[in-house]
Symmetry: C2
Subunit: 340 residues, 2 copies
């Protein structure tokens, strides 16, 4: 409400919206599980037609779809629903860019459960999940991650391949640490026929990366190093060592330990390539990179979204000579390219 002086009165709307925000996650997850977006894309665009197609109550889908309109995932005209450009591209199962599977990971009971008694997490200053949280050795969540998050990593992997000039075809020996789905190493192998990839991760996770390497037609240049990044023998002479979405799980002491090991395994002109959420020094911008911190608080003992200044210090302390920061916008991620 505008006051006579043109100032806005204090308003509790943001508080209500935030206390109800969990409903947004629940509704989108349900819509993906019921395959509502594919059904609408195929023409079932009324509550009656959707109820039949999704085997759900008409009242249920009507209220769900109205809420999806309010959130911006659907349009509604003359009581009929239609997909937005975003939902047609990313939520209709018929689209090659569909990332509905990401919902299985991001809204999995383990990740949502990590926020359950969040005051206790803040008091402790770290995850209340058992063991080391998501960083517990062989945690099956990483198999789920590898299976469900691969589609949405492809644009990032392609951006990385372009920035590293994979197409130039130099002879590369590449170590892909915590490879997960393997998509980053695989993208380099696809663009560079002279790249040999060594993928490191837990054995069950490497099964997923191996499937993806075979699908991409690069299986013969995709080698496996099963185990922990902190314990496995990396080998040596790498031109590139990829650290994608891994460093944020650990504290600076552990990260420096890993970076020393990485540096030792690089060839003289080798580069470490870090892909991560890297906020500005204020730690509150840009919002998506900065808010990744809260996920690390909830799911790890002492991980964080580190700033570039903090990474620069860690890389320098581990002996690296230079670091270059490259934003991957519009994605919230950045790359750091560090020279031995």
């Amino acid at each position: 409400m505008a006051s006579p002086t043109g100032h806005t009165q204090p308003n509790p709307e943001l508080i209500f919206e935030t206390l109800n925000a969990h409903q947004r996650t629940a509704a989108l997850k349900a819509a993906i599980e019921l395959d509502v977006f594919t059904a609408i894309g195929e023409g079932a665009n009324t509550p009656a037609a959707l109820g039949k197609r999704c085997q759900a109550a008409e009242r249920g889908v009507r209220i769900l779809c109205d809420y999806l309109v309010i959130m911006g995932f659907l349009n509604k005209e003359a009581q009929r629903y239609s997909l937005t450009p975003d939902s047609a591209m990313f939520l209709d199962r018929r689209s090659p860019a569909c990332m509905g599977s990401a919902a299985s990971f991001l809204s999995s009971p383990e990740l949502i459960g990590a926020f359950k008694n969040f005051a206790a997490v803040v008091r402790k200053g770290g995850s209340m999940l058992p063991g080391e949280g998501t960083t517990t050795p062989e945690n099956p969540i990483w198999v789920e991650f590898a299976r469900s998050m691969a589609p949405m990593q492809i644009p990032l992997a392609e951006a990385m391949a372009k920035i590293l000039k994979a197409d130039a075809g130099e002879k590369w020996k590449v170590l892909d640490i915590a490879a997960g789905h393997g998509m980053f190493g695989i993208a380099l192998a696809k663009h560079n026929p002279n790249a040999e990839i060594y993928a490191l991760d837990w054995p069950r996770v490497l099964d997923v990366a191996t499937e993806n390497a075979a699908k991409a037609g690069v299986a013969v240049r995709h080698h496996l190093i099963p185990g922990s990044a902190f314990e496995a023998d990396f080998g040596s002479g790498y031109d590139l060592i990829l650290l994608t979405n891994i460093l944020h799980h650990f504290d600076p002491v552990m990260i420096e330990l890993l970076l020393r090991k990485v540096r030792a395994a690089l060839a003289p002109n080798g580069r470490a390539v870090t892909l991560d959420f890297i906020p500005n020094d204020d730690r509150v911008t840009p919002p998506r990179a900065a808010s990744f911190s809260i996920i690390m608080l909830a799911t790890t003992p002492d991980g964080d979204a580190y700033t570039f200044s903090e990474y620069q210090r860690m890389f320098r302390d581990a002996g690296f000579s230079s670091n270059e920061l490259v934003s991957l916008g519009p994605a919230p991620h950045s790359l750091i390219i560090s020279r031995k």
Copy 2:
């Protein structure tokens, strides 16, 4: 990313934001539980000071407070946090308008649990909570509601008292159905010394209303009718019958049944006054009123956020002669004033 033609490329950000939205609820709830806003208001404005004051790990409060900045609940300058006008007014316990207790209700395990397997709720077309969901007789959640939601109802109750011209001091007999905290009837009694209030609700809930009536100094004009709105004997000759935040819990058949009973209890010139979330006919605007529907889907067998057209039909079918709609903006609620 803007394309060469100036159109925006499809972007998965809204999907990520929504899949992570549950974290917003968890973080605000934790901040209220740890009393972070009061601590900052009192001058503990660094992670170290806050950790000490809130008995929490410095890392925990630092990451939590940065996230509160990103969400818009705090400001951050030179590594120090400060309250926004909204959080100073509504989240600092020292403010008379503090509504931190609303968090206990809105983010209670029962209300959050109602969204847990939301695909099943949509399939069924109604709440998966036991019994009749939140409308189960004597459900203790309404005692919690009455205790925690009273502060934020005061502005609405004051707006209602003004619209009904309570200050004119006419002799009023008022029935407050599903009185809860009792604040609506109590506001009328405060503004009109000639108003007698009859508050109807479950006995345990009426204990809370009675406390509030005593605090407001109107206990002698605040009478109790314990029981269900569908079963209790209302008495008769009421000038006003209040239906605040109750009709949305039921289907139109039950609502008409209740409205007939309400009409019979009104004096010849009496008015029924409904306060509720009333969306436009499109059911998707305004957003806060329209999105209330999803809460009724998750927590009741067949409640809804009904449109004014739907309420008009129900009131007319129950014998009322006219209905007037009054918005309570900036609040998301509206009033319907219906004449016998």
